[in-house]
């Protein structure tokens, strides 16, 4: 038994060979992704890692830690060492929406650093090509005449849903939300005519819009692939924001010098052709916001969503129906 314990100890000692750290980054950086592999955020993260590692001079390893729309990864991030070797790319769900809907193990504005915002997904409202709603105004008119009859397919508790809530408040109509498991199933429901209108990110619809199976009747900003006249929020005087953002979070308290190095690396990487091309294909507008502004902006967005979540009766403090 003595021998056994001694050998264990020796082995443990051997496997802890020391490694001197002089400057940042001296070893690979872990970029977590709070969403599953293959998704839009994952592809964006991999493109960013690929472009930025050349500038930072160290490998950036993309690690998927999916769960609860990024909230699981954010809770885990809270416990990581703030040395700049662990970062999290996720959507703003974990900061601006989920905390209003469920009890989480972290405070979105106290427990993590809001490192940067890198992009914003373009949001579209779509109908099938043979829909009687030729224009957005047709839909609004019909929905006003038939209260609660408009069926709207969307991703559960997403920015698209709360965007629709906001619009319905402005226009004064009511609708029936039918939640699907995000983009692909929502698109299926629109294509199959199971819902009258669907909401989601712009990229998956490209092929069907170009094949004239689906029409985009409203979007929050200009969509490059749409050839016809398009209607955006501006055309209807919707001057509010319901964004879906790609953000990078970090454990609280990263040294300033490390922060500067990372910022520079990522900002340079975002200027690369690969990153620009992949962001464009995913219909993501590149944002590149850093520093104090990020927290201020997220706080504002969080406030917008908190109100809408309460209006939709989905706030965690509200009694369920």
């Amino acid at each position: 038994m003595k021998k056994l314990i001694l050998s264990i100890f020796l082995f443990l000692l051997l496997s802890s060979f020391a490694e001197a750290q002089s400057h940042f980054p001296s070893r690979p950086i872990n970029l977590w992704v709070g969403l599953p592999a293959g998704g839009s955020a994952d592809v964006l993260a991999r493109a960013l890692a690929e472009a930025s590692e050349k500038i930072l001079g160290q490998k950036i390893v993309v690690v998927n830690k999916p769960g609860g729309g990024g909230t699981v990864a954010t809770s885990l991030l809270k416990g990581e060492k703030p040395d700049g070797y662990t970062l999290l790319l996720t959507t703003d769900t974990a900061i601006t929406r989920a905390p209003h809907m469920m009890d989480l193990e972290y405070d979105p504005f106290k427990d993590v650093d809001h490192f940067m915002i890198i992009g914003k997904w373009k949001t579209v409202w779509t109908v099938r090509a043979d829909s009687p709603f030729k224009k957005w105004s047709d839909l609004v008119e019909w929905a006003k005449k038939n209260p609660g009859q408009l069926t709207f397919g969307h991703c559960t508790a997403s920015s698209f849903y709360f965007g629709m809530v906001k619009i319905s408040q402005i226009e004064g109509f009511t609708f029936k939300g039918v939640p699907y498991a995000c983009d692909a199933p929502t698109m299926t429901a629109v294509l199959g005519g199971h819902v009258m209108v669907g909401g989601g990110t712009a990229a998956p619809y490209r092929s069907h819009v170009l094949a004239n199976n689906i029409r985009i009747i409203l979007s929050d900003e200009h969509i490059d692939y749409v050839k016809d006249r398009q209607y955006t929020f501006k055309d209807f005087g919707y001057n509010f924001e319901v964004p879906l953002l790609a953000i990078i979070l970090a454990p609280k308290g990263i040294p300033e010098s490390v922060k500067k190095t990372l910022e520079k690396g990522f900002l340079e990487g975002m200027k690369s052709e690969t990153f620009k091309r992949i962001a464009a294909e995913q219909e993501i507008s590149i944002v590149a916001m850093t520093g104090e502004k990020v927290t201020d902006y997220l706080r504002k967005v969080s406030g917008i969503y908190e109100k809408l979540i309460k209006d939709a009766n989905m706030h965690k403090t509200q009694k369920k129906q």
Binding site: K3, L4, S7, I8, F11, L12, S15, S16, A18, E19, A20, Q21, N30, V61, V63, K81, K320, Q321
Partner: protein, 155 residues
Amino acid sequence: MERHNLYSSSLLLAMASLICYKAYRIGLGRPDNPGEGFAPFWISFVLALLSAYLLFGSYLKVMKGRGGPIGVATWRKPVYLLFLLFLYAFLLRFLGFLAVTFLLMLFLLYSFGGESLRKSLLFSVLISFIFYFLFARGLQLPLPTGLIWDYLKPG
């Protein structure tokens, strides 16, 4: 099997009743908008009924003296392994993949396999290093490296 059924059905009945109650508390919703508790409620409700049926039937048979005893003698090793595996998962974060894998392999070979200490040591070192190089280096899987080493490092 009758005595087995008596225990398993009691456990399932208790579990199902608990879920049923919880689901009811969560809320069943309305017909046009079934709530979060709707599906769990009905699923556990039917499960409770079936468990009760099984419980009743096996109770009758055990009463008639038809249930054999349950042996516990063979449970020692499986329970021991389960304990080791939980310990493995627990220590993984602190000691890192290489170290805990080595320890697990050592225990499995030494105390389960009945190998000599020398042989067990050799194989454990071999297996843990092969796995480490295959997955952490070869496939670039981010296996835990162990928090403890971060603190032991100078600087």
